[in-house]
Structures are given as structure tokens and as C-alpha cells.
């Protein structure tokens, strides 16, 4: 099946297209779509003229998701909001400057490892390398590790 037809086949919801191949499943988990009570389709390894292979996520009947998470995982992905089978809005993504409770600090010496109720907050340190820094311990995570 061609990517374009899949995009159009949704009546209402969101299509996240042009996700770098392999990141679709990761994004699915970061968006916590595994517990969703609406229909979600992941297409992995779809053919793409521009990208060779790409992943696509289609979310049906829901447009209220955390776009900063998508920006964090793959800011080159494209977002289309669909209503009545038509694209009503396209969103451009950016690397978020700050993310809360998306990345978990893996530094075992970080206070977030013992202080349970506080949010895990990371701030963008270097956009080129997609490096984020824990607001508490200042440990760095590179985009590739997220």
C-alpha cells in the first residue's frame, strides 16, 4: 500500500508522517499510545521517495497529544490534522526547549532516582547534537540515546 493512500484513509485524527524509519515504535511508546482507548496504527518501513523508508503513525479520533514529545523524538516528522477526511492543519515541529516527564534521568546519583514525586525536567543544551540536560544533576543525554 502506498503511504499517501494511508494518510488519506483516516476520517478524523492525526497523521504523523515522515518519521525516520525505526523511530515509529519509540514514538508510540513515548506518546504512551499503548494505553490509549482510541485506535492507533503504526506503519513501519513504508516506502518513501524522499527518505527511502519511513514510519507513520495514525491516531484516530484524537488530536490532543503532546507535540513536544514528537519534536523531541524526531523533529523532522510531519503532522497533519485530519477532519472529515481532509487535512485541516499541518504542524511544524521544533526541538522542544524543555521537556517534563518525557525523558527519565538515568544518572543513578541524581536526586530524581530517590525523590519520587518530582517531575523529571530536561532542558535543551545543544540543538545541533540534540543534547538535553537534566535540570537537577546536569547530566547530559544526546538525542540518539533518548
Amino acid at each position: 500500500m502506498k503511504g499517501q493512500r494511508l494518510v488519506n484513509s483516516i476520517e478524523k485524527g492525526i497523521v504523523i508522517d515522515h518519521i525516520r524509519a525505526g523511530l515509529g515504535v519509540k514514538l508510540f511508546h513515548f506518546l504512551k499510545l499503548d494505553n490509549a482507548d482510541f485506535t492507533v496504527v503504526i506503519i513501519s518501513g513504508a516506502e518513501s521517495k524522499r527518505m527511502g523508508r519511513k514510519d507513520i503513525i495514525k491516531i484516530q479520533n484524537m488530536i490532543d497529544i503532546d507535540y513536544t514529545v514528537i519534536g523531541l523524538i524526531d523533529h523532522n516528522a510531519t503532522i497533519s490534522i485530519i477532519e472529515d477526511g481532509e487535512i485541516t492543519e499541518k504542524k511544524k515541529l521544533e526541538l522542544p526547549r524543555r521537556v517534563e516527564n518525557v525523558i527519565v534521568c538515568k544518572n543513578p546519583r541524581c536526586i530524581t532516582s530517590t525523590e519520587r514525586q518530582i517531575p523529571h525536567v530536561f532542558s535543551l543544551q545543544n540543538a545541533e547534537t540534540r543534547t538535553y540536560r537534566c535540570d537537577y544533576c546536569e547530566d547530559h543525554v544526546r538525542g540518539i540515546e533518548i
Binding site: 544518572n107 546519583r109 541524581c110 536526586i111 530524581t112 532516582s113 530517590t114 525523590e115 519520587r116 514525586q117 518530582i118 537534566c134 535540570d135 537537577y136 544533576c137 546536569e138 547530566d139
Partner: protein, 307 residues
């Protein structure tokens, strides 16, 4: 002044002007301690040490007592409510109802940020894991000022473990803000300053050189900051034994040093400064310990708005 009700969590929290105000006050207290012995009468400092650090705790407590204030607290997590599973935030919220200022030492990195976020009174970070220990830097700066009468324009040598040595990283970041300061970093190749610090210095146009032995460059230094080279940082015993002597300061190496070199060490030392150096008038590391108390006195008086 502008520091009332502020916190000191990391070494760059204060501008140089604010920092210099604290250091100048510390010098005034040092010169006439009697004049300040009632300054914080009626005030209470809580010293919350979630991990033991006797030296730092005693320095803070002595500082508060010498200003006429009083002290409550605990010296290890086992005797605190943390042992019963209370969160750090809840402990701080509670204690900030009792005390006028909170000093917190915690094994986890970033703990002091959390404390400052929930406390209703000023928080001073007395060390949070390998992260920050800003009053150590204040101590180092006060010592340098009191010995060299200035900070700007000095050539500061740092020697030993420059990769993991937190005190060195904080000092370098802080002191590089002063006009004309340059650095000489002497360390074994595997313990060179980390990339982030090199980037910091490059970004700010600070002059520095790196060398793998201290004796060649010691003659150029105005200040020599010694740190421990720990055995566990090395892959094998032979490597450690071969390298460690190159980074032990002794009378021989000091022969080519300047007459007015200021030798610092955050203490405790193990063997990186030979005992024979203690008698040398250039050794300032015990004086440094005393400066630590005066720096903390000035800091607390400032945060409590008592000056």
C-alpha cells in the same frame, strides 16, 4: 543588600559583584570577629547532613555560632526522618518552618535545587553528590584574596585529578570570570580537564595550557591548587605508581616556584603534598580551612540580610 533571601546552590549563582561583596564582608569579619559576634543573635541555622561530612558541617556550625546564632540539625541520614522514608521536599518544607536558614548536604546530585524550590527560607548547598559545592569555591577565593590581595590577573595552576575533581571545576568556572586570570592544568593524560570545561574556557576566551607534569610549569604559577590523584582512577597499579610521584608536591619541586606562590588544597590530603611543605610559608591550605569558616559567616549574614 541584594543577597537577602537568596540561595546559594551552584557556584555561578552570584555575580562577581555580589560574590566580591560577600568576600569583602568575610575579610571585615576576619579582621575584627568580636564586632560581629552578635550579628545573628536569635537566628537559627538548620544543618541537614544527609551524608556525613564532618569538616564541612563543623565549619558551618562554627560560623553560625561565632555570629551569635544557634544550630539545629542532624549529621547523617540515619538519624533523620529520611530514614523513615520521608521525601527530601517534605523534610525541607517542615524544617523551613523552624529555621531561618537551611544548610543541606546530600549524596544525590541536584538535591539542593529541590530543597531551594520548596524552602521558605534561604538554602545553602553544602555539597550535593559530585555536583556542586559552592562554599568550597567561596573558601578558595577568600584564601586567594587574603594571600594575594587580588584575584584578577593571576596565573592559577591546578594539579592532580582534573577530570573528576569537582572542586577544581567549580573554582575554574568561577575564577575565570575575573579579568586576566589564566590557568595551567597539570595532570596525567587520563585525568585531564573534561571536555565541557575546555569548551567553557574556549567559549569565554580564557587562556590556559595543559601539561602532563607539574614541575615544568610551576615557576609561572601565582596560585597552585593541589588535588588528590586517587588510585581507583587508574587501570593498573604500575601506571598509578609511575604517575603519582609526578603530581606530589615536595620541597624539590617548589625550588623553582615563585616566592609568593599560594599553595591551596581542599583537604583532607593523602600524600599529594609532602609534609615537609607544611613548614613552607607558601603553604596556605590550613589557612584555607580557617577562611572557609569566615566565608560561611559572611555568606549567612548576607543571605539573612543582617548586614
Amino acid at each position: 543588600m541584594g543577597l537577602e533571601s537568596r540561595n546559594l546552590i551552584s557556584t555561578l549563582d552570584f555575580s562577581i559583584e555580589e560574590q566580591d561583596e560577600v568576600l569583602a564582608l568575610a575579610e571585615r569579619i576576619m579582621a575584627a570577629p568580636k564586632e560581629y559576634d552578635h550579628l545573628l543573635g536569635g537566628r537559627i541555622m538548620a544543618s541537614l547532613f544527609f551524608e556525613p561530612s564532618t569538616r564541612t558541617r563543623l565549619s558551618f556550625e562554627a560560623a553560625m555560632l561565632r555570629l551569635g546564632g544557634r544550630v539545629i540539625g542532624f549529621s547523617e541520614a540515619g538519624s533523620s526522618s529520611a530514614a523513615k522514608g520521608e521525601s527530601l521536599s517534605d523534610t525541607i518544607r517542615t524544617v523551613s518552618q523552624y529555621a531561618d536558614i537551611i544548610v543541606v548536604r546530600h549524596p544525590k546530585e541536584g538535591a539542593a535545587n529541590i530543597a531551594a524550590g520548596v524552602s521558605g527560607v534561604p538554602v545553602v548547598n553544602a555539597g550535593d553528590g559530585g555536583h556542586e559545592h559552592p562554599t568550597q569555591t567561596l573558601t578558595d577565593l577568600l584564601t586567594i584574596r587574603s594571600v594575594k590581595k587580588r584575584v584578577g590577573g593571576l596565573a592559577v595552576g591546578c594539579c592532580g585529578d582534573l577530570k573528576f575533581g569537582r572542586t577544581v571545576h567549580s573554582l575554574v568556572k568561577n575564577i575565570s570570570r575575573y579579568e586576566g586570570v589564566s590557568f595551567i592544568f597539570a595532570s596525567p593524560d587520563e585525568l585531564r580537564i573534561p571536555r565541557f570545561l575546555r569548551a567553557f574556557l574556549d567559549d569565554n576566551g580564557v587562556e590556559y595550557v595543559e601539561t602532563d607534569r607539574m614541575d615544568g610549569k610551576i615557576a609561572e604559577m601565582d596560585v597552585l591548587y593541589m588535588t588528590r590523584v586517587q588510585k581507583e582512577r587508574f587501570f593498573n597499579e604500575e601506571e598509578y605508581i609511575r604517575l603519582k610521584d609526578l603530581f606530589i608536591l615536595d620541597a624539590g619541586k617548589l625550588r623553582s616556584a615563585k616566592e609568593d606562590l599560594c599553595i591551596l588544597h581542599p583537604l583532607p590530603r593523602v600524600n599529594e603534598i609532602a609534609y615537609e611543605v607544611d613548614a613552607d610559608k607558601r603553604a596556605a591550605y590550613f589557612h584555607q580551612a580557617g577562611c572557609g569558616m569566615y566565608a560561611r559567616m559572611a555568606l549567612m549574614a548576607s543571605l539573612l540580610g543582617a548586614v
